[in-house]
């Protein structure tokens, strides 16, 4: 087995042994799904939500919050290794420095994908529609992958640069307000405040939500999906580049 595979396997096993971050993310997603659907699901009959109901509208937020909750996992794994000094031991092995950072990100992303698949299964049990069948499922998983990569890359990069345990959650805390400045709970047609409408257009989370909505209930347009995919691809690349560059600035 190559050293890269060894490091990736170790990261996956580490996350499996200490799954707090992904489980918290999953719990938060379920909370959103159950509470919002039960609490205000009744408004789904309004025309602006389309004919697929409120579940199809609110479901993308569970996908987004899942990665938000678990994205600090890579940063926390790195932090635990740095605190114990073991990171330096790994750093002194022939493994590439970049792989030491990429491996926990891969583990994080993999866990995000698994929990997304579970969420989709739960959603299906609740009667979640998939506009394009399996293509929709594959598309949602792809968006989830890019979103998780974006968040955990920035999270890991910030952790590496600051060396502070708390900084692993900075990204989650920074993204959280963006959820409320978007079309999370209501479609644009029902947002009455002009400033919020303007902000939501500039908010990348809006496009991620709408891209998912296109795949789930078809309540958003094809253009939003393309735009959402494009935005996430760019942010994921930037995030990995940031984490990769941060690997060169590790404070040993």
């Amino acid at each position: 087995m190559s050293t890269n595979k060894l490091i990736i396997t170790r990261s996956i096993l580490k996350l499996a042994k200490q799954p707090t971050a992904p489980i918290m993310g999953f719990a938060m997603s379920l909370f959103f799904l159950l509470v919002y659907n039960a609490g205000i699901g009744g408004i789904g009959h309004m025309e602006a939500f389309g004919d697929k109901g409120y579940l199809a509208f609110i479901f993308p937020i569970t996908i987004i919050s899942l990665a938000m909750g678990s994205s600090s996992g890579a940063g926390q794994t790195l932090n635990a290794d740095m605190q114990s000094g073991y990171f330096r031991r790994l750093y002194l092995s022939p493994v590439s420095r970049s792989m030491l950072v990429i491996a926990p990100m891969l583990a994080d992303t993999l866990s995000s994908l698994i929990f997304t698949a579970i969420l989709l299964g739960i959603g299906a049990l609740f009667g979640l529609p998939f506009q394009f069948g399996l293509v929709s499922v594959a598309g949602i998983l792809m968006l989830s992958l890019l979103w998780a990569t974006t968040l955990c890359g920035f999270s890991a990069g910030i952790m590496l640069r600051t060396g502070q345990h708390q900084s692993a959650t900075i990204v989650t805390n920074a993204v959280f307000p963006l959820l409320f400045l978007s079309t999370t709970f209501l479609p644009r047609e029902l947002i009455s405040s002009q400033w919020l409408l303007t902000v939501s257009w500039a908010n990348p989370v809006t496009y991620v939500l709408e891209a998912n909505r296109y795949l789930i209930g078809g309540t958003s347009s094809h253009g939003f999906f393309i735009l959402g995919l494009l935005i996430l691809t760019i942010t994921a690349i930037l995030s990995v580049a940031f984490a990769w560059r941060s690997a060169k600035k590790i404070k040993i």
């Binding site: 050293t3 060894l6 490091i7 580490k14 031991r89 002194l92 092995s93």
Partner: protein, 255 residues
């Protein structure tokens, strides 16, 4: 003398910090048990970190086993073993697993890694700790394991930065038994920094004295003692203390 480690005019200044190394020129011969002595903050650990590719030098060149890390640091890492001041253990892993994983990282097969783990568990008397997690080990056993990890891949050069800190006398004796065996029987070059001068006195043959980022002496341990004591029979520690109270002017003995 075949040179194993070579530093040429190495400088290092930390951001917002002092100039840690001010042009270090130093050679360590193949198979030497070499010790670098100096007070706290003199630059010992900085030089070790540069030599082990943990931090970058500002200028100068260095070679380990003829390899220049400016071109390929991963190759150097295959040839060196490193035990720095702080323990570098994964608290959640067992003694056996962490040794085995270390072997696998350095390219050993599963069988080879298991065999090597067994050898080191035996050499460092960690048999009763084999299945215990690192976080549950005593300070001394953590230290033993930390040092054992540096030897897993049978390095040609060993960098030991204060390796015996926290070890009880028995563990220290056992540690030195292993290190001197490697040095004498397998020709492993040892680059040691320590504040336990009696250990350096007992085991090292060559030494350098660094103060304020500059080498003030380079030569044999015996020569150093002779130089400082003008014929009087003193230990290395006594000689070191005497030297520190004398002039700090550079005094280089070249081989």
């Amino acid at each position: 003398m075949t040179v194993e480690i070579l530093f040429k005019n190495i400088t290092k200044k930390y951001p917002k910090g002092p100039e840690a190394l001010k042009g270090i020129d130093l050679e360590v011969g193949k198979g030497d048990l070499f010790t670098l002595l100096g007070p706290n903050g003199a630059g010992k650990s900085t030089l070790v970190k540069i030599a082990t590719t943990l931090i970058r030098k500002d200028s100068g060149e260095f070679y380990v086993g003829g390899e220049n890390p400016d071109f390929d640091f991963s190759n150097i890492r295959r040839h060196i073993g490193v035990a720095l001041q702080d323990n570098e253990l994964d608290p959640a892993e067992t003694v056996e697993n962490i040794l085995r994983f270390q072997g696998r990282l350095f390219g050993l097969t599963k069988t080879q890694a298991q065999q090597r783990a067994n050898e080191l568990i035996d050499a460092f008397e960690l048999e009763t700790e084999r299945t215990k997690k690192c976080e549950t080990l005593s300070g001394g056993n953590k230290r033993r394991l930390h040092c054992a990890l540096a030897l897993v891949h049978r390095p040609k050069v060993l960098f030991l930065d204060e390796p015996t800190v926290g070890m009880d006398p028995e563990a220290r004796a056992r540690f030195w038994q292993v290190i001197t065996h490697l040095n004498k029987n397998e020709g492993v070059t040892v680059f040691l920094t320590t504040q336990y001068l009696e250990e350096a006195d007992k085991h090292a043959t060559q030494m350098a004295l660094i103060m304020d980022g500059t080498i003030h002496y380079r030569g044999s341990v015996t020569e150093f003692k002779k130089m400082v004591n003008s014929g009087e029979q003193l230990t290395l520690e006594e000689s070191y203390l005497a030297f520190m109270t004398q002039s700090h002017q550079p005094y280089i003995v070249t081989d």
